[in-house]
Each structure stands twice: as C-alpha cells, then as structure tokens.
Symmetry: C2
Subunit: 296 residues, 2 copies
C-alpha cells in the first residue's frame, strides 16, 4: 500500500503516541510505508515538530545497536497547573466530605482521562531512565499506576493487601497504615526479577506508612526504589515516614474545611531523561548512520 | 502559532487518538490551528484515511447540536487473531502452571500494552453506544477494565471485595465465587447514577459466579447490564451461570496440560456502532453545516 506524505505523518504520530518510550527503527517505518529512508527521515522531523509545538512530549533518536526513534510523553508546567487546579476545584467540593473526615474521590481517580493525565505527569517528573517496574498497592492507586507504567513503557506490579497464594510462592509482611492499624501486604515471588529498580506509585499519603511498607517489601525482594510518586499528600503530619517522593496535590481537611492545592514545586520545567535530542540526529540517519537501522 | 498542513494533520491524529470517543467540534481545530474551516475539513479527510488505511479505527462525524468529529478505536479481526494467538502461546508456557491448577498470568494482564490492546478489542466487540459506565471487580481485572473504559470514553467503577465504608454509604452483598465459596462485594451508593446502563468487564470466568454476582449488584443499584466481556473463560463447566457475554480466550487446564486458544467467534468483522460514516459528511461541514460547529 502506498501512503501520501500527510498520511505517513499521521500514521507515525499515531504509532509513536500509542507506544510511548518504545523504540522504533527507521526500517520499521520504511517497510510499513514502502518509502525511502530519506523520506521517512523528513517525516520524522515534521513529527518531532508536531510534538514540540503542541508541548505533548519529545521524539528523540537513540544511537547504538538498539537504536531508533521513540516518543517520550512530557507535560508542560503550565498545562499541569491548569489540570491540577481544575482537579483541586472538584476535590474541594463540600459534598465530597464524608463522615469520618474521608473524601469521596473515586469518581475522579478512576476516570480514565484523569488517570491517564496523572500518569503522564508522573512520567514527566520522575526519572525512570533506569527503572524496571512501576509498583503500586491495591486498589485505588491502580488506575493511575497503570497509566504511569504505560507512559513509562514499564510493566506494572500490584501488591495485594490480603495474603493471596493463588499466584504461587508469595512473600507477605505487615505494615502500619495511615490509621495506625497493622495491615498485611503480599507479592508473589515471581513478580519482580532480583536486582530490579522500581518506581512506587500510590494515590494517597498521610503519614507515609504505606509507601514505607512498600519500600520494606521491595527491600525483601532485593529491589531498589529509585522514585516514588503520590497523587495526594496531606499537610499534616508534616513529618512523613518517607522523605524522597513527589506529590501532585496537597490536602488539608480541618473539620468541614477542605484546603487543596497543586504541589507546584514538584514540577520540572523540562523532562530531563533525554539521551540525545538534536534535529541533526534524525537528519544524520540517512547520511552516516544507516547501519543502525537495518535491524528492527 | 502557525501550523503547516503536515503538522496540523499530525496534531489532529494525536488529539483524536489520545481521546477516543470524545467529540471535537470543527471550531476547536480552527481555533487551535488558526486555520479556516475548509482547511480543517480537508485535514480531517486525510486523518480519516490514516485511521482506515492502518485499520486503527474510524473517524466519524456526528450531526446535531452536540455535533463534531470523533475517533472510534476499532481493531481488525486479523490483528486480534495475531495478538491473541501470541498471548495464548505465552499463556500455555508450562512454567506458568502453579500447584492447585492455578495459572500465573499477572505479568501479562498487568502489562500496560496488553491491557490497552485488550481494552480496544472489548471496545470493538461490545456495543457501548448507550453505556454510562464500565464496571469491574477488584483486582486483576482492573487494568483491562480501565483500558476498556478509556477506549469507550466511559467512567470506570470498581467493585470492592471487602466491605469498605470509607467511601460513604455502601451497598454490600454476597456472591458465590468460582470455588463455590461465599464472598462479599460492595459498592458505594454514589458510584452509579440511578437508571444507568453498564458494561461488565472481568479477567476470568469459570462458572460465571462473579459476573452473576456483579449483575445482581447492578440490579440492586437499578442499573442495567447491556454487555459483558471476560478475558479468559474456561471450557468447563460448559454451563455458565450467565449466557450473554463475550470471552476473548478459551482455556482448559487438565492436569499438566494447558489448552488455550482465541475465541474467534467472538470477533466482529466491523465495529457496528457508527452513527454516520461518510466521507461526504466531512466535506459537507463547510458547505451547509457550519452552524453545527460553532460551539464547542
């Protein structure tokens, strides 16, 4: 099948956008569109411009044997602010306050568009260049953790609260949850490869007991936690059981009063995990670098 | 900011593709790209071609006061077959068999790319034109249910297994699970609007007890189940407690032998929920239908 230039560009955008952080070789596109490498290189320059003009992320080239082109989702600071301000407005609706000081939030955090956007924000502000997995604990954090894993192109691991042995040998341990209650968490032995590096994602942090417990569990698996993100953290207690995390929204519930605001200091201006990022790189594909793209 | 034709097309593909089933007005694009309606209409024809040539879905126009253009994800029968055959090969790996006849599958069903693809397949084969929610039960079905909800542009509702009252007044009931065990499920009163129509999604069906239980719970909420999809169903028992569902993969575990194959009869050749689907529709935008696109 023959594709027009405009069609190729649309198609490349669709493929890259649907598969963040997945490397595609130049050959993949030349075969798919039955086009010359020089043609595809020109197309890729346009695609790169589309993403940058719309501030939707970066298309970068990677050299080396496993080289190719990939799309890195990236959110802009102003876009994050707008999105989170809007979310904060929804969260602070007094009708969300339940007896016991709980907030009804599941309609928001289970919403696929919101979860997807949160995932992209985590992927823009946590360095996952060395990560092997995104890890979360059931249940409410799963949608945003899945979308984070999707943006990062990493597998998702879900820690269960009850002790489940139907997934083979399982490591279980206790932790102290937000309400100073001793609870259990468990994870199948097979869920993580030894020596893994992981990113922890959770929906809510009060004292930090859950994230702390997840860190201890990762320790038992011989895994290293290289980044943690929570969607909402409370202003009190100020001293959390963990220090090194990012939080998108800060919340304070005092009686009937809900104070909630984006944690703007969290956000980077630029996503920094960029190996090479030069227009010339794509141009040079054809001239000197052809061999890199011969295998898929 | 000015965009070139190729850039506009790339950008429109990205916007539509990231937001399946969301309606965008012509004005949305004319404002975003600072371009004439006739220009955007031509762009939309190209975009439509991209999706159709690559068999990635359909871009359709909707007339009426809430009119505009939207992208409907659609998978092709051959693509589904290839994807599911590959998945079946992985599932039938003998090392997945655990004692007790369980299969280790969480590395597959938690994988964001696989979950995303499963979601698109459900969205291509279940009619959700009237649906208000996608409903699942924690935990293993959540990733695929979220991706289904994303493809359908519907909110996700997660039924909890334990009785959680931290989400306000909650309706709880018992059901008989696959292992003939009585278990409980619960859902906050606020989770579904009265008179809702829902799609049920779950990862695994043996006897159908869980889906049956979910149906009963939906009944208690005054909600109507208009479609059900399970990822894997077992060949035995042949008589399930529910009849009207689709299943993507059929599984039979007999001692050490795992038989697994795609349930090809499930798949439609074409996704049928298309209101209008004519190239001319987009062309006519400018000539006679401008008023429809003046509001966003």
């Amino acid at each position: 099948m023959k594709f027009k230039r405009t069609e190729r560009i649309g198609a490349i955008v669709k493929i890259l956008s649907d598969n963040p952080n997945k490397i595609y070789t130049l050959s993949y596109f030349t075969e798919k569109f039955n086009a010359a490498k020089s043609t595809i290189s020109e197309d890729l320059l346009v695609v790169k411009n589309v993403f940058e003009k719309l501030e939707l992320g970066k298309v970068i080239t990677i050299s080396g044997a496993a080289g190719g082109v990939k799309y890195i989702p990236k959110t802009s600071k102003s876009e994050n602010e707008e999105f989170l301000m809007d979310l904060c407005k929804k969260i602070s609706d007094p009708s969300r306050l339940l007896s016991g000081g709980f907030l009804y939030l599941i309609d928001l955090i289970y919403d696929p568009s919101i979860a997807s956007k949160i995932g992209k924000i985590f992927a823009s502000n946590i360095d996952y260049s060395e990560a092997d997995y995104v890890v979360t604990m059931e249940t409410k954090g799963i949608p945003m953790a899945l979308m984070t894993a999707k943006a990062m192109n990493l597998p998702l691991v879900i820690i269960r609260k009850d002790i489940k042995v139907s997934e083979g040998p399982t490591l279980s341990m206790t932790y102290v949850s937000g309400k100073s209650k001793v609870e259990s968490m468990s994870l199948p032995r097979k869920a993580l490869k030894p020596g893994s590096k992981v990113i922890l994602i959770d929906d809510f942090m009060r004292g930090g007991g859950t994230i702390k417990g997840m860190m201890n569990l990762m320790n038992e698996f011989g895994a290293e936690v290289i980044g943690s993100g929570v969607f909402i953290s409370t202003t009190t207690p100020e001293d959390k059981m963990v220090q090194d995390y990012i939080s998108l929204i800060q919340l304070d519930v005092d009686g009937e009063k809900i104070s909630v605001e984006p944690n703007l200091k969290t956000f980077r201006d630029e996503y920094r995990n960029i190996e090479i990022e030069e227009n010339e790189e794509i141009e040079r594909f054809v001239e000197e670098d052809e061999s890199l793209f011969d295998e898929e």
